[in-house]
């Protein structure tokens, strides 16, 4: 099989002015998984394929995954460590090739078993990170997640050469999916990218999830591009945008309009790749058809979107200033990025609002301001100026519910936030 590294494929599409679109798709049934990949490949868009894994595999409860497969109970993703390798190879055979890279998406804080399984299948693109898949999605101590991700990065990096360039995407731009002020999303993405590079990866992507304000999102992606140019100039890199990761519009019209806004944001902000959401998102695990519709809708919206202004992004934004302060504060703690991250969270120098993980300080609080921007209600011990706190106040359950559904309500009512 002729290989094209994941990063080269995305760079090639970008050079042709095309946004790469990608689903978040996984089924436990191998036949359905293969059909999903085949129809992603055949979609009228520049696509890469995804194997999204199930929750049991993510938390390494492989006994539960085995039982579910044996009993025919549907899982919420593809159990890559459970189906025999020949079954998984048959899923990929003739679909995964130079014109169609496939990435494994999982959510594991301790991913060695997953990385081992994907390398065995000839795959070498995946995503996650020691912070982004630990604090929001697990109970694994951060120190252990850092250790596991060091090992996982080493396993991937060892497969560099002979035409292969393993690719790792930081999930740092998501964290809890919504209500995190962009500076923290940008900082965690950049720091995880630096962690990957420190452990041998030569091709990375930095993520950012669409939030509540288009203007603030444009500033955030600009900040992400600038900081990665400053600090990751020695590795292949691109920005991947996630269509809104919070409570999704229930109506078909609202859901697709939000996706179109994400696709336009991706193009105009200078991102190279977009992970889509579907019209079914609020109701169930999306079908293959839901995903194909989302990919083609996003590709059409992207084709009509204005390109980013030429030259480097503007460096005078608040998001850039805050994110730069956070990144450099952490990097000064230790030469080893992983160690620096553990120290930073212990001291509250990084703090994810509302995250319940025992290793997260949990003092920072955020809210959606009247102009739709995400701002700080409390910065806790974050090294940000006190002026960054816009409205110190207690967030109630009603405030929280209202903030969580801010985007969903606006789009379901036919507008934008």
């Amino acid at each position: 099989m002729t290989r094209v590294p994941f990063g080269d494929f995305v760079a090639g599409a970008r050079a042709r002015g095309r946004l790469v679109v990608q689903p978040r798709m996984g089924f436990s049934d191998p036949g359905r998984m293969r059909e999903g990949l085949a129809r992603t490949r055949a979609a009228d868009a520049v696509t890469v394929g995804t194997l999204t894994l199930d929750s049991y595999t993510r938390v390494r409860d492989l006994a539960a995954a085995r039982r579910a497969v044996a009993d025919g109970v549907p899982l919420n993703g593809y159990p890559i460590c459970t189906h025999p390798p020949h079954t998984s190879r048959a899923v990929l055979d003739g679909i995964h090739d130079a014109s169609f890279p496939v990435q494994v998406r999982h959510g594991s804080a301790r991913p060695e078993h997953i990385v081992s399984a994907l390398l065995d299948l000839g795959l070498d693109a995946t995503e996650g990170g020691p912070v982004s898949y630990c604090l929001p999605y697990s109970r694994t101590p951060l120190r252990d997640a850092v250790k596991s991700w060091r090992t996982a990065c080493g396993m991937l990096a060892r497969h560099t050469g002979d035409g292969r360039v393993p690719h790792l995407e930081s999930f740092g731009g998501c964290l809890l999916g919504q209500l995190c002020p962009p500076a923290v999303l940008v900082a965690v993405s950049v720091l995880e990218g630096l962690f990957f590079a420190q452990h041998g990866l030569r091709s990375v992507s930095l993520s950012y999830a669409q939030q509540t304000s288009r203007q603030q999102d444009l500033e955030a992606v600009a900040a992400l591009r600038l900081l990665s140019d400053e600090l990751l100039g020695h590795v292949d890199r691109h920005v991947v945008l996630y269509a809104y990761m919070g409570v999704y519009p229930h109506s078909r019209g609202g859901a697709l309009t939000l996706l179109e806004a994400a696709a336009r944001l991706a193009v105009t902000s200078g991102a190279s790749r977009l992970i889509v959401k579907t019209a079914a998102e609020a109701h169930r695990i999306p079908t293959v058809a839901d995903n194909v519709e989302a990919l083609e809708t996003a590709a059409r919206a992207a084709a009509d979107a204005p390109a980013p202004p030429p030259g480097p992004p503007a460096a005078d934004s608040e998001v850039y200033a805050e994110a730069r302060t956070l990144v450099h504060t952490v990097l000064e703690l230790d030469d080893d990025v992983g160690t620096a991250l553990v120290t930073a969270f212990r001291r509250g120098l990084l703090d994810i609002p509302y995250c319940l993980h025992p290793d997260n300080a949990g003092r920072a609080r955020s809210f959606i301001d009247r102009d739709g921007w995400l701002r700080w209600a409390d910065t806790g011990a974050l090294p940000l100026p006190t002026a960054a706190v816009s409205a110190a106040r207690k967030v109630t359950s009603a405030d929280l519910l209202s903030a969580l559904s801010h985007v969903q309500r606006a789009y379901d009512l036919g507008g934008t936030p």
């Binding site: 929750s55 049991y56 579910a68 509302y354 969580l404």
Partner: protein, 145 residues
């Protein structure tokens, strides 16, 4: 410790399931229950069965709330409640589960019946705050000594 008018409201243990990484449902339930005056221990997402059992035996909550939205709620919730109900110390604890419990977004009558038979006192539909409040308000209250 929360107490209102000399009355101590029942304590609540809120938890996700072992395979479910979602957090917002748990943060929201905690804020809601605290505003109603309850003491809340929140185990957060991806709580293994052992941790839930240990916390239940340690805190002896009047109410244990399992919330799941990842589609594995039926399987994980069933296994968890059988484990919890096998401990006689927890016989008097009210246990409920709610959220999006299956992968298809549909309420499955057979699965709800199995959850109830296995030991849950109630199975809530996603977002049914009114019914949840009704149940919480009927929990036995004891005077602060």
């Amino acid at each position: 410790m929360n107490s209102m008018h000399g009355i101590q409201l029942p304590s609540v243990l809120v938890t996700g399931t072992s395979s479910d990484a979602h957090t917002w449902n748990l943060v929201y339930l905690q804020l809601l229950l605290e505003e109603w005056g309850h003491d809340v221990t929140n185990l957060g997402p991806c709580a293994p069965d052992d941790l839930v059992l240990g916390a239940a035996l340690e805190h002896r909550p009047a109410l244990l709330v399992v919330s799941s939205v990842n589609g594995h709620g039926h399987q994980d919730g069933l296994r968890l409640v059988r484990r919890l109900r096998s401990h006689p110390e927890l016989a008097a604890t009210t246990m409920v589960i709610g959220g999006k419990l299956g992968t298809d977004g549909l309420r499955n009558v057979g699965q709800v019946r199995r959850l109830l038979e296995a030991g849950y006192d109630r199975v809530f539909d996603d977002g049914d705050v009114a019914a949840f409040r009704e149940l919480v308000s009927r929990l036995p209250v004891r005077a602060v000594s």
